[in-house]
Symmetry: C2
Subunit: 226 residues, 2 copies
């Protein structure tokens, strides 16, 4: 098993069957020791974060599978904090697909002139480039096409899948009295098809319960009923 | 004649016939005393800038008219630095429509990961919000629609008009051995139609000649053959 990539929150190994193994770590993104799913730097390490993130990811990927959404998920080994996934190539050096149900965070920093903090958004999708040096700039469909990062058809697939996926997740969280504010997904190409990759956990979504933001580890307990 | 708006580079008066009068000033945008068409602040005042800007604007609007493009331009009084224009309402508090033929400036600051400084771009259009406090954030078609700033049809009209207009301007500048790198336009609604408004001068375009950037006042002389 060969280590092929060391990420901020996961390491990636190549398997002999052509699939990949993701090893979830306890590191999370944040700034100055405070957890922030939108941050570019590893801000802190939280015991149990890798295992919790994996168990939540397994739960959500299986939920999506049951709802007919194809993803890169194959199976998970929660004892070893690993998940087997299909091979996929990312667009350029990676895109982040953000889906928003509430106007908060960077959305307000950009569009605060025309939006009210916390106003409802209808699964609004935007794309940013993974580029730490340039602070993950937002990018339009036209620019993505022009820079040959993806085709117009791939963009539309990615956008409609994002809205479908996020509505499924939002509805499931609502059953646990949790409200999904926004979430960050990643897609890749597998056999010419655009599929959801990476993880789905508290580390890349903003969830509120009883008016308070839910910590990623608390989200594991709430969603998995522990 | 009533003053209705004082802008960074122009004042606006209401006329009795329902049209408006734009008074061109000698102030230009820039930072620390250096001219920069992309800057949000009045950086300096240049003698003759208002008159030069108006004469160039008159020239370009008349060129567009001759090419069948409807704009807000009615006529110009170059002795008094004023231009009469049709009434128009802007989208929200105003949008800037940027058309790029070369990858430079803010394009490179955002997409430098995937572009080479100075590479050719095929009349690439992007939109930013006029919002000094938020540094004129870029915005997507989806966000413009969602925030009710314009409709999908208006966006497509604005994009195709921008590309047509800028190709006309680029071809005309090329006849004077000048190369248009990028340009910033503004559109508004007039009787339910999207039309080009504001000015077209050295103050909102980046032009090169013999490998050197052309100063707005030099552009007046070159284009008008003075």
């Amino acid at each position: 098993m060969k280590l092929v990539y060391q990420g901020k929150t996961k390491d990636v190994f190549e398997l002999e069957n052509g699939n990949y193994l993701l090893k979830f770590k306890d590191d999370v993104t944040g700034t100055d020791g405070v957890f922030d799913p939108g941050a570019n730097t590893v801000g802190l390490s939280i015991d149990g974060m890798g295992n919790g993130g994996l168990r939540l990811t397994k739960y959500f990927f299986e939920l999506l599978h049951d709802n007919g959404v194809k993803t890169h998920y194959v199976n998970a080994d929660t004892d070893n904090n690993t998940m087997e996934v299909l091979p996929a190539t990312v667009f350029g050096n990676g895109l982040e697909i953000i889906c928003r149900f509430k106007a908060v965070g960077s959305f307000m920093r950009r569009y605060g002139q025309y939006a009210t903090e916390g106003q409802d958004l209808d699964a609004f999708v935007e794309v940013t480039l993974k580029d730490d040096d340039r602070e993950d700039p937002p990018i339009t469909k036209d620019a993505l096409e022009m820079l040959n990062l993806l085709t117009a058809d791939e963009y539309e697939s990615l956008k409609s899948q994002t809205q479908k996926i996020c509505k499924i997740l939002k509805a499931d969280l609502a059953k646990k009295d949790c409200e999904l504010y926004d979430i960050k997904l990643e897609f890749g190409r597998n056999n010419g098809e655009v599929i959801l990759i990476d993880e789905i956990s508290g580390g890349n979504m903003r969830v509120y319960k009883d008016g308070e933001v839910v910590h990623p580890l608390d989200l594991v307990k709430i969603v998995l009923g522990e």
